[in-house]
């Protein structure tokens, strides 16, 4: 009887562990509420946003193409004279959601290098940052601590989730500090500027259109996705579904992989056992190489494929000569917020919604990007936009 009870207790404990582990280990946290039901594309599809993003792809951004992190698409400039400060040496504070994936790690290094330049020039004095480790509650208290300290001349926030962080951001705005939001948004426009690339719909549509253009009608496409319930990822898939629905491609399935290479390879191998796969659509490039290897190991011809501008994928693409595209979720956006902070503190105008360009890397541009990043690790992103910073390349190599 004793052992029975121990066994039952162990099983219960395991159940709890299982539940918690799945939430803490996930690369992005905000999926929790949505994972229980299979999220349909419709829930994540807003026609107006979709149309706007697709249109923004064709708009010529204002600014110098050599510095895409300073370009803006259709900006509405706002006056920031109220925030102007004399003398430079500003204290800039940054509340980061996390550095829990290679994309964020790359961007965080870029931001630090940009800060170093601005500190050298005397525009920024102290740069404080906090890392919430994908925990909403932690980030709310991080933001609160920055506001309460009263030391921050400008506050940069990369929110971990949209709805939960909104009240904390509003409280920060009310304190009178200029607030800069980037990457994911919040449900308030109280921030001075919201910086982001065009968005998830454009990413998903770029990829889907490439497959439609490069595959014969009737070809079979497999969609590999990271996890459900994350807005930027769901938007990518929702856009792809729109494009695929109007095409003659057959979608074999859409599978969640958690970005785990072994899982991706298993899934692709199983699909290949059941029949031909002509194209692969991915909502993010993590583990793309494992998908390609599954074709190699099965002796199947390479698919037409879309990954991301992660170097491991781009190098494999070059090596195999396959037909592919690297859609981009512009990593260089991590430079913009600190520059925006100095602009605001100097009383210069900034766009209220700062939409950065987001151009996929095509085969024609591929080799050039790989050459520039030749010494970079494989989980680095080609469009990180830090080639002209003094720390290049060592800062990004040694992470």
């Amino acid at each position: 009887m004793r052992t029975t009870r121990i066994a039952a207790a162990a099983a219960a404990a395991l159940g709890i562990m299982l539940a918690t582990a799945c939430t803490t280990d996930a690369p992005t946290e905000e999926a929790d509420e949505a994972t229980t039901e299979e999220a349909s594309g419709d829930e994540w599809f807003v026609q107006a946003d979709y149309d706007a993003q697709l249109a923004q792809r064709d708009v010529e951004p204002e600014g110098d193409p050599a510095t895409p992190w300073l370009q803006a698409i259709e900006p509405e400039w706002v006056d920031t004279a109220a925030f102007a400060q004399e003398g430079g040496n500003a204290t800039v504070c940054f509340s980061n959601a996390s550095v829990s994936n290679p994309w964020r790690v790359t961007g965080w290094i870029t931001m630090q290098q940009q800060v170093a330049v601005l500190q050298e020039s005397g525009q920024i004095g102290e740069f404080r940052h906090s890392d919430a480790g994908d925990d909403d509650d932690q980030q709310i208290s991080d933001i609160q601590a920055f506001v309460d300290s009263g030391d921050c001349d400008a506050l940069i926030i990369s929110p971990s989730t949209t709805a939960t962080l909104t009240p904390a951001v509003e409280a920060a705005c009310e304190s009178g500090v200029p607030v800069i939001i980037f990457d994911r948004g919040v449900n308030t426009d109280c921030a001075v500027t919201f910086i982001h690339p065009i968005g998830g719909y454009a990413f998903g549509a770029d990829a889907a259109e490439f497959l439609v253009d490069n595959l014969e009608p009737g070809s079979k496409v497999l969609a590999l996705r990271i996890l459900p319930g994350v807005d930027v990822l769901e938007n990518r898939w929702a856009a792809a579904q729109e494009i695929f629905a109007d095409s003659e491609l057959e979608i074999l399935g859409n599978e969640f992989t958690g970005g785990d290479a072994a899982e991706i390879k298993n899934i692709v191998t199983q699909y290949l056992q059941r029949g031909d796969v002509d194209g692969i659509w991915m909502d993010a490039g993590d583990g793309a190489v494992a998908a390609i290897e599954a074709f190699e190991d099965a002796g199947a011809p390479y698919p037409v494929m879309t990954g991301e501008d992660e170097l491991s994928f781009m190098r494999k693409w070059q090596e195999t000569g396959m037909t592919a595209l690297a859609p981009v979720y512009s990593n260089f956006q991590w430079r913009t917020p600190v520059i925006a902070a100095t602009m605001i503190l100097a009383g210069e105008q900034v766009p209220s919604e700062w939409v950065l360009p987001q151009d996929p890397i095509t085969e024609a541009e591929r080799d050039q990007y790989l050459e520039v990043n030749a010494d970079m690790p494989s989980l680095h992103y080609a469009k990180f936009g830090g080639e002209d910073l003094p720390g290049f390349p060592e800062a990004w190599q040694d992470r």
Binding site: P102, F256, E293
Partner: protein
């Protein structure tokens, strides 16, 4: 009539049940996709299942001696990341780094074992702590994302095999390693060490009083689990390369597999072969899910249900006396004999 009942009894014995389950799941896979049992596709399945089967063998030693090892998933992840960072694409470093990995696996097992036995910390807590320590330390060391890359020769074991075999196509090295680990484990459980391990899980005081070195055996079980995680790490890293998510959640999958194999949590009962078969059932089940196009997000829920159902089933078997017990020889019920 007695004969039929005896057969039925054997089939419902938790250890034997897993093999019945395996047949059922394979049958379902076959109905859905007859092509699955063609040589190359079956070999691909075994190649992909091998790491979990090996982990199940390692976990079996720990569970049968009355403990848990929750740190294996994090250890597999750590090993792959360490390998990528230290090898960094240099072929010549492959074997020295593999040696480092084995030492690291042994060290982690030893620490788990000593904390559990010498400091009397419950293994659930010890290994949960180790999971978090490894998880955090690796992220600290790599700055959040793995760097470096594995060499081609490192990847041979997990990715390649003996080519051009008639009918089968390719016999994966992973399968060879899996069979070797399985055979080694079965033999090990027949030695004195195996019997001490089993006795320690069944009743550690009785085992200690009869002169068995219970703590040594339990510590060694953790070391074996660490080594199995190292081998699994080599195979998984070889199979698919490095990613930040390698090994995530494997500890739960492997405990599910072992429990499904009829190994009793708390120790003292179950066979290593059944534990490994449990791992195959889990992998086959996930293949089946894929074939029915069920979302992968359903898996944790199914794993949880399996753990609870399997433990409840095993507990029911042992607490309620079988009405026909007098008519059948006692060997028909769950026997503590190792196999």
């Amino acid at each position: 009539m007695t004969r039929v009942r005896e057969l039925l009894l054997r089939a419902t014995n938790p250890t034997a049940t897993v093999f019945v389950l395996l047949v059922f799941v394979f049958a379902a896979v076959f109905v859905k996709n007859p092509g699955f049992f063609e040589g190359p596709s079956l070999m691909a399945f075994l190649k992909q299942a091998a790491p979990l089967v090996i982990l199940a063998a390692g976990q079996y030693f720990v569970i049968v001696s009355g403990n848990f090892d929750l740190s294996v998933g994090a250890l597999v992840g750590a090993q792959v990341v360490i390998a990528a960072r230290l090898i960094d694409g240099e072929e010549s470093r492959t074997f020295p780094v593999m040696a480092v990995m084995v030492l690291f696996g042994i060290a982690v097992g030893l620490v788990n074992g000593l904390i559990t036995t010498a400091l009397k910390v419950q293994s659930f807590i010890t290994t949960l702590g180790m999971l978090l320590v490894l998880y955090g330390a690796i992220r600290l060391w790599t700055g959040g994302a793995p760097t470096g890359s594995l060499s081609e020769s490192f990847r041979v074991l997990g990715r390649m095999g003996i080519e051009n075999v008639p009918v089968l196509g390719q016999i994966p090295w992973a399968l060879v390693v899996m069979v070797a680990v399985g055979a080694g484990s079965v033999l090990l459980m027949r030695t004195r060490f195996g019997r001490v391990l089993m006795a320690a899980g069944d009743n550690d005081r009785a085992a200690a009083l009869s002169g068995a070195r219970v703590d040594t055996a339990r510590t060694l079980a953790f070391v074996l689990s660490g080594v199995s995680a190292t081998i699994a790490g080599v195979l998984i890293g070889g199979f698919a390369g490095v990613s930040a998510q390698v090994g995530d959640g494997l500890e739960f999958t492997v405990i599910t597999a072992v429990v499904l194999g009829g190994v009793v949590l708390g120790g003292g009962r179950g066979s290593v072969l059944a534990a490994m078969a449990g791992a195959l059932v889990i992998e086959a089940l996930f293949t089946l899910f894929n074939q029915f196009a069920l979302p992968a997000t359903l898996r944790p829920a199914v794993q949880g249900a399996i753990i609870i159902a399997a433990v409840a089933y095993a507990a029911r078997r042992r607490t309620r006396p079988v009405p026909t017990a007098t008519a059948t020889p006692p060997t028909a019920t769950a026997s503590p004999t190792p196999s």
